[in-house]
């Protein structure tokens, strides 16, 4: 089914900030975050016709962002190369980050996020930044058990606290 880009823009607008923060939290740097967003938006435009329920746009978009993130950061070089390659001759993606942030809390958080596993990172960021429910996170992460997600998030929160504490101590020294 063909759907207009206007519909896509309309649905993207309310979740735009969340999507960028999600990309930033996952990639921990602005350049990669921009690339991830660009690739995911392109993928979204391509698959937009398949989205039946507009109410599910957010979880649909975040699922694409997550898949693209996994794809982009796969260890397999072949896969990485394949996924990085854009099928289209497209216009340059606009600048979304004006400057690097100087916010210490954000830096500490991003540094701490770099020290946890991909699965943990995706789960906690979907929960904290995307404000998704445990069930939605289970669906996005394609997990069978809900309790696995619950324990993953709880464990990651504890881990992050310890890591941020350590990072802050280093920063204050």
């Amino acid at each position: 089914m063909q759907r207009s880009s206007e519909d896509f823009i309309e649905l993207l607008k309310p979740v735009y900030n969340n999507a960028i923060s999600y990309c930033l939290a996952l990639t921990r740097n602005q350049t990669d975050a921009k690339d991830l967003l660009q690739d995911s938006l392109l993928k979204g435009l391509e698959k937009f016709g398949a989205l039946k329920d507009d109410k599910k746009f957010k979880s649909w978009l975040f699922t694409i962002l997550t898949r693209q993130y996994y794809g982009l950061y796969q260890k397999s070089l072949i896969k990485k190369k394949f996924l990085n390659q854009s099928h289209y001759e497209i216009a340059e993606f606009p600048q979304i980050f004006e400057k690097e942030t100087n916010e210490l809390n954000e830096k500490a958080l991003l540094d701490a996020l770099a020290l946890i596993t991909e699965k943990e990172r995706v789960a906690i960021v979907l929960f904290e930044v995307g404000n998704f429910s445990m069930e939605e996170i289970r669906m996005i992460q394609r997990e069978k058990s809900l309790s696995a997600i619950k324990s993953r998030i709880s464990r990651t929160r504890t881990k992050l606290k310890e890591l941020i504490l350590g990072i802050q101590k280093t920063l204050t020294k």
């Binding site: 896509f8 900030n17 916010e103 504490l165 802050q168």
Partner: protein, 409 residues
């Protein structure tokens, strides 16, 4: 403490610092980018759909074409048809000859013996095992290596060329499906002859026939019509010198050949006959086995004299100079044809009424059946092992009294 408090109490502050960042300013530019990119995505999607359609049509055309071509193009491939084993044993090693004979019975294969004029002390053997019996082949060669007096064990692969379509090659060779085409007899003969020539054994003459199971048999009917072994050609230089060794060889070979009938020796009671009858097989010498038939007039076995049993000569098995085994009965002779663990066949081309003799044994050779058959004729005798010293003594006495019986046989 000041550093730790905000983390423990409020991790949300860290998340807020990330989530509260506002990127709304960049949205109009992203909006424009989406509109622009959507055009490209649509165009590209259309192109891709067309490409896919073209590829589908191409595949529909190319797959049958490829199939037809693969069925048409013929290729040659070389396959192994079997192994030709050539070895020699010191003639003094009697036990090795016996062991070789047992191996032949155990693994049901036939070794063909020949002599080399320049090496009279060695007996040479050759046999062929088809490739499909590789397991048997490795067991035989392993046992051969253990033979005492083994001088040389030479194993050569015999290959054959299969010409078939590319598709069938893929089917047979890659997928390992279907039945492999068997080599043609002429090609195999040629290949074996070439191998024999390479080994300096080109004086050997062979005939190869493929039986139902694809096995390959050797014989030397071109040389000696009633022979099953390959022998030296008469034109070989220095043959006179080897006459003596030929004699020794023949004696040894006869022993080895007649060993396949060793199970016969002793007494057998004839079943399903009104008169108590025994067959007693005796080894008269290395190349002669005779069966004496003892018929009792009544149930007493030991009684001798006027009321004693009638004794006559039945079958005799003889190993001849022409390297074959002959079965005789009442002046009729049958040539040995084949033998395995269960059956022995003899053939006669002169008397059609008694053309075939077939002996069928049970697994433990405790009983067997002898059948003489031919045009409208079938004579069957069933025998069961009944070793009886009395019978043996009767036979010994009979032989002592009638030495001519053996001479006639």
């Amino acid at each position: 403490m000041e550093d730790k408090r905000p983390i423990e109490n409020d991790l949300n502050a860290y998340w807020d610092s990330l989530c509260q960042r506002n990127f709304d300013e960049s949205f109009p530019a992203v909006e424009a980018w989406i509109r622009e990119s959507n055009k490209t995505v649509r165009r590209s999607r259309l192109e891709r759909r067309q490409r896919r359609k073209r590829a589908r049509w191409f595949a529909l055309g190319i797959i049958p074409l490829f199939f037809i071509l693969s069925c048409t193009i013929r290729v040659n491939r070389v396959e192994k048809s079997g192994s030709l084993v050539n070895f020699s044993i010191d003639k003094k090693e009697d036990r090795s000859f016996q062991k070789l004979s047992s191996l032949q019975q155990l693994f049901t294969f036939t070794c063909y013996e020949f002599l080399q004029p320049d090496q009279p002390t060695l007996a040479y053997f050759i046999f062929f095992i088809p490739n499909k019996e590789q397991e048997k082949f490795s067991l035989i060669t392993r046992e051969l290596k253990l033979l005492n007096g083994l001088q040389k064990l030479d194993i050569s692969s015999i290959n054959y060329t299969i010409r078939e379509s590319l598709f069938l090659t893929f089917w047979h060779k890659t997928l390992q499906l279907g039945e492999q085409p068997m080599p043609k007899s002429e090609e195999l003969t040629r290949n074996i002859q070439a191998t024999l020539k390479d080994k300096g054994l080109d004086f050997l003459s062979i005939r190869i026939s493929n039986d139902k199971d694809g096995n390959i048999e050797f014989d030397a009917t071109k040389q000696i019509p009633d022979s099953l072994t390959i022998t030296n050609k008469s034109t070989l230089p220095g043959q006179e010198k080897s006459n003596q060794s030929d004699k020794i060889r023949n004696e040894r070979a006869s022993m080895a050949k007649l060993q396949i009938f060793d199970w016969l020796i002793g007494s057998w009671r004839v079943k399903y006959v009104p008169q108590t009858t025994y067959h007693h097989w005796s080894r008269i010498n290395d190349s002669l086995l005779i069966c004496f038939i003892i018929k009792y007039k009544d149930e007493e076995l030991i009684k001798m004299g006027d009321d004693g049993p009638d004794i006559s000569v039945g079958f005799s098995l003889r190993y001849t100079q022409s390297d074959s085994i002959l079965l005789s009965l009442r002046g009729i002779e049958w040539k040995f044809l084949s033998a395995d663990d269960k059956e022995i066949h003899f053939k006669n081309d002169i008397t059609p009424k008694s053309a075939n003799v077939k002996w069928v044994m049970d697994n433990e050779k405790k009983s067997w059946q002898s059948a003489i058959s031919g045009e409208g004729n079938l004579e069957v005798v069933n025998l069961i092992r009944d070793n009886n010293t009395a019978i043996e003594n009767i036979v010994k006495e009979f032989v002592a009294k009638n030495p001519d019986v053996i001479k006639r046989s």
